[in-house]
Symmetry: C2
Subunit: 547 residues, 2 copies
């Protein structure tokens, strides 16, 4: 059977736009001779609609969209994903379903069995698990339809305390008994640089174990924090990846399941390159899908704002990025020069605003209240917050979205000012550790110097007091990031982190900083997720707790 | 059997404190002649530990605490709640368990069957459902142990599109076959003014249907957003509530299940009074459990900050509340006077800081960039953000927590400035509609005028431009709140809200405001939840979406 892989970028809740796109690709697949065209999980609604699924009107629109798309399926079959109402008396309101459409109608429905409810996934919040298995049939061929997690009854675990068999049922085990010619897996699997290999292996293992080709069709594009990377694959019955679609962009490919043909894989990319591409897509989709064009941010001369502005320019174009340079009396000359040079290199609009007069006004007004107290964090925060006001003023006046430049290391230990440099509509680097930020700077400068060398080599500093350096209050980033990875991504205990070769006092201080700054992260901007455990809705910690 | 109800306030993750409290109440129950003392769901950890449950160390500490508490159970039995590891090969890592302890050891374990995974509940994220049913036994009496949701296989739904039977199994149906003498339900059921009656009815219906007494032991106290109200009850086999423990405070009662005795109920309180009491508890526990003493906030002369400061004084004491009056050139004289009068009435420390010099500094610096644009929302936001800086400076300098004063109506339509008046560590009124705010003012002033009458009767205004009124950009609160309740609590469609008797254009505008302000609420302070649907982690909306 000739199967078309339609790896597309959907907008959540945009039934009109998503349907139009799906219909266009049904036509294209038909013209190009495909028998069946496959779209990804919840393609009609976009993944994941969250509590929009609790609105009757939303579900009705999804039902109408499915019926409307089915009407275009003549001389070709299509598999699309959408929620549907659970008509049984008991259980959750909805199923997460795959619809096989041909002859203008819904011909077969397969509901999702395994509902991921961990990390960023909340599917049991809305969906009832399927308990019945059957095969779909078209043009005399019988095949199985599965939905994403359905193939993940066995999975590796990122954390030390994870479990590799989260479910009681193996859908593939059930379906294999029915002898499908191949297994279609419609998916919405987000990118995470440290789980990517696993994902491919999970699919390979299933194909191998059941000697059945697996056709995996993933979504592409960013939905707020989650960045879906595409990379759809066809794996043959020996567990060999034979076809692979593009990463981080839409793609389309027709494959004959009886005559798969030559290997056709994507070029290997390095981890930092993938993260880079993921973030550019993440920024671009955030703006496009929100209906915004322009970004603003503050350039400090430091590396975080430098990387952020470069990614923004790649995502939106230099003409759509406008920055402020906001020096204070503690800003070093080279910082201002580095920021200026970077703006010049990128060809973006910039303005310089001195924050001192506003800071002085605050301090003067507070003097009678603060009395003889000595300047400290309070006064440092006033500077960061004054900058925040200027940037939000640009954002408000010109309708630009402020990009936040906080990195994951800072966010982890609370090294940032709430309502100050933590401001922004989107945190571009919030899931990227500082040590990876440096690597990304080298990648960006690979061909020519875009980020001034001085920005990369100077010791990181917030420049909120004279001669301040990050290492005054934090361990070296090389060590800090390893401790944080152990604590956040791997869920190690303090003792286990000490056993990695770190000083107990330092480890305890770092962990205490992570724990006591939940309150700041609670109010942080949404973070583009590129790891297996990002701050945000995939990591739910009680705010008020003792631990 | 003489059963002691121990309705206590736990701190999440405070194994030492929670254990000490539980042990003290085991001793007390023993001294007072009880055979069995019952604590609430996850009493050892506090409810709900969220992703702390993914840490091995956390689970080990819980296991140790259970063993330690068991050692104190001699001459008395106790039921406590704690997570335990699922030793089966398949399924989630943990069970949410009830432990029956006596003779110094764990004698019986009953795991939770129905795992609420909706609204603010995420239990299937961490727990495997139980599938086995048995009775506990002590002193020759056989009884059933259930955990909270286990009795909720049939439940009323708040939203129009909800389902009343969310589960495939009815634990009570299974347990009834074993003929228990009574059913213990250990619970962690948060307060919600519009679901309170349901909760009691769910329990009454079970007792009646199975002709079996139900002993319901709830947690009390606030855990960040969730406010557990206590109100534990004993319902006899006819479905009559015979005993009722206090609301919003710890309580303890011993009941003889063979000789229940006279009715002993709590006095009826009005809805606004309950909300009031819930919020006072919510503020108090937030500070106590975080280890903070003092609150700060800005008094504008308006009703929201007035109510907030009154509740803060009730929760923390007048000596622990310090406010700023932050007039601008648009503040009316009466506003300053009303704010001053309120501070005087409460006997709290206050200072007046004029924001104009700082605002002028920002506007001067921005003039070259803004050119000839006319002042608007940008300039209004600068005022709100300047106030935010002053308040955060007080918070930082003196270690006070800034209380946020935003109400639910404002929060819904985005009538507030991000990084300005949306600042704060805790949003006290974020789940209270403006119309209920007015009612609460009347309740507070019932015996004497604490909130100046003028604050209550004047038309609400943000005072960010001359003669501004909320109704310039919003419908009257009486109408607005009804539309919002329909949209947020009841999940009605725009058409259904129009059918309530509102103008279609106005309804569409209001709904559009709610939808497009998800981005602001994403970064809002945690909100004390008092309704069936608060903004925050119980309402998960995609940020980037079209709907």
């Amino acid at each position: 059977m000739k199967v078309a892989f339609a790896q597309l970028n959907y907008t959540i809740g945009d039934f009109e736009g998503n349907s139009a796109k799906i219909i266009a690709y049904i036509e294209k697949a038909k013209v190009e001779g495909a028998d069946l065209v496959v779209f990804s999980e919840l393609s009609v609604t976009g993944y994941y609609p969250h509590d929009l699924l609790e609105k009757k009107e939303f579900i009705q629109k999804a039902e109408n969209a499915v019926a409307n798309i089915a009407a275009f399926c003549h001389g070709i079959a299509a598999i699309i994903g959408a929620p549907r109402i659970n008509q049984n008396e008991k259980g959750k309101q909805l199923f997460n379903a795959a619809f096989l459409l041909f002859n203008g109608e819904i011909q077969y429905i397969q509901d999702k069995t395994l509902l991921p409810t961990y990390d960023v996934f909340d599917e049991y919040r809305h969906f009832e698990p399927n308990r019945q298995f059957g095969l779909a049939q078209y043009k005399g061929e019988k095949f199985a339809i599965t939905i994403c997690e359905d193939l993940w009854d066995e999975q590796p675990t990122a954390s030390e305390f994870g479990k590799d068999k989260l479910y009681q049922i193996s859908p593939m085990e059930e379906l294999a008994k029915l002898k499908p010619a191949f297994v279609v897996n419609i998916s919405a699997s987000p990118f995470s640089y440290n789980q990517e290999e696993w994902r491919k292996n999970v699919l390979i293992n299933k194909a191998k174990k059941y000697k059945t080709p697996v056709l995996y069709i993933n979504q592409v594009g960013a939905q707020t924090e989650l960045i879906f990377d595409g990379g759809s694959v066809l794996i043959d019955g020996n567990g060999e990846v034979i076809k692979e679609l593009k990463y981080f962009e839409e793609d389309f490919l027709i494959v004959d399941t009886r005559n798969i043909g030559e290997k056709q894989l994507q070029p290997e990319a390095g981890t930092i390159e993938k993260i880079h591409d993921a973030l550019v897509l993440g920024i671009g989709d955030y703006f496009r899908k929100m209906g915004f064009t322009c970004a603003t941010l503050g350039l400090s001369g430091g590396i975080d704002s430098a990387i952020t502005v470069v990614l923004a320019v790649k995502a939106l174009g230099a003409e759509n990025v406008r920055v402020l340079l906001l020096p204070s009396k503690y800003s070093s000359n080279h910082s201002i020069e580095d920021a200026w040079q970077l703006a010049e290199n990128l060809g973006i609009q910039y303005e310089i605003v001195k924050i001192q007069p506003a800071v002085d006004a605050f301090e003067a007004a507070l003097k009678p209240i603060f009395g003889g107290t000595s300047p400290g964090v309070t006064e440092e925060n006033i500077q960061a917050r004054a900058r925040g006001i200027y940037l939000m003023a640009i954002s408000n006046k010109f309708g630009h979205i402020l990009l936040n430049t906080t990195n994951k290391s800072e966010s982890a230990v609370g090294y940032g000012t709430l309502y100050g440099d933590m401001n922004g509509g989107l945190a571009v680097l919030g899931d990227v550790y500082k040590t990876d930020i440096f690597k990304m700077a080298r990648l960006i400068n690979r061909d020519k110097e875009i980020i001034p060398e001085n920005t990369i080599i100077k010791p990181p500093s917030a420049e909120l007091r004279p001669d301040q350096k990050d290492t005054d209050s934090l361990p070296e980033y090389h060590d800090l990031d390893r401790m944080l990875f152990g604590y956040i991504e791997m869920n190690l205990s303090p003792k286990e982190i000490v056993d990695m070769g770190f000083d107990e006092k330092v480890v305890n201080r770092v962990i205490r900083m992570v724990n006591m700054n939940e309150y700041k992260r609670f109010q942080a901007a949404p973070i583009l997720r590129i790891s297996s455990k990002a701050f945000g809705f995939g990591r739910r910690m009680p705010l008020v707790a003792k631990y």
